[in-house]
Symmetry: C2
Subunit: 229 residues, 2 copies
């Protein structure tokens, strides 16, 4: 059975860690806005039916014009809300009712691969919820405000969460409803569906699937981009 | 006061995760053995007085011949022991008694920088013990054997340990003595000095200071190498 996969890309943040005058999602990576590069991966993936970009209200018109015409797929550009969770919720409301699976993917993770997209969508269809992730390979320690190590944390079974995060559409709607009822704000969508008692499966992310939030991330991204081409 | 800084580079592991017929430290990175590239950074750093390589017993002669003549600095190539800790201990015994600070650095972390070396040595002289590390920026979750998320771990104050790890020489000797008396084996040297009640300070590592242990790490290392030159 073919499934209808819709994607929400929240990119409404202000990127205060980037020390630049422009929001991080619009910074240039290899001459193109980071957000446009992220979007392209989903537009080029045949298993994806629709993509909704969520951007700052002031940018909706410009983004619609510049990034539009996406091979019939870029259905919506909508305005973000106060928090990331509000922005994803705005995106969620824009999806067509026959959506089977929703992927939520950071606008500033342009190195997502077709394999990750398909694996996350498939696992969400099979199990309800899935997230791209990679195992922790480093020794982890807690460090206090003075810069002194203050105890350790076992890395056994610990994974680093990435995106895409993927969910059956009705499940994610219920999770957002419950969060709103409870006034709950989570760090990501996984934290919302976990509150329903839903199991969330990990699928293979990659070290290279970096989130570009600091100047040094952008430098690494430029390197990765050159290596890809 | 100038300090005498000696470096121990343990590289006696078998690298079973690398799926190659040769130990990981001798794999080629940009046409040179990884271990040789790591060694070069320390040989080129003026604040470093001596370097001891610890390699598998069978490789001592070959490494002495091929990597030797290191601008008068490569004082020793010694044979490793059963575990990493035994190998570092063997290296420790080779140091001259007037050493002030000992740095221990993974043979398969060739992207260590002069800044990291100096910061770790300085902090060890000032405080006794220091380690290069970077803050955790990802959401961390525990994942069970089925691949299902099973609880989270706050990343607040969590850091990923790297090397160099640096210590005042007498302190590290005492830490090894105590570990031997107690039959204790730790994951690294920090875990040994912590047992003495010693405070360990973090200094700035870098995302690029990767440990090459898996095939995908080597691929990333080739990219980083190109970007550097």
């Amino acid at each position: 059975m073919p499934m209808k996969v819709s994607v929400i890309i929240p990119a409404a943040g202000q990127g205060r860690r980037m020390e630049a005058g422009v929001s991080k999602q619009f910074l240039l990576l290899g001459g193109e806005p980071i957000l446009k590069r992220t979007l392209e991966v989903f537009l080029n993936e045949p298993s994806v039916s629709a993509v909704t970009l969520v951007v700052p209200e002031a940018d909706v018109e410009a983004v619609s014009g510049e990034f539009g015409g996406g091979r019939g797929k870029l259905s919506e550009v909508v305005a973000g809300g106060k928090e990331r969770q509000d922005s994803v919720h705005n995106g969620l409301k824009s999806l067509s009712a026959d959506t089977d699976v929703v992927l939520v993917h950071d606008g500033v993770r342009p190195f997502v691969t077709p394999q990750m997209i398909r694996a996350a969508a498939r696992a969400a269809l099979d199990h309800g919820a899935a997230v791209a992730a990679i195992p922790v390979n480093d020794t982890l320690k807690r460090v206090d405000a003075r810069g002194v190590i203050d105890g350790g944390v076992s890395r056994e079974g610990l994974w680093r969460m990435q995106t895409p995060q993927a969910f059956r559409y009705p499940l994610l709607l219920r999770a957002f409803d419950k969060a709103r009822q409870d006034g709950f704000y989570g760090t990501d969508e996984v934290s919302l569906v976990e509150r329903l008692g839903q199991e969330v499966f990990v699928v293979a992310g990659a070290e290279s699937n970096i989130k570009i939030t600091r100047p040094e991330d952008l430098a690494l991204a430029e390197i990765l981009l050159v290596a890809r081409s």
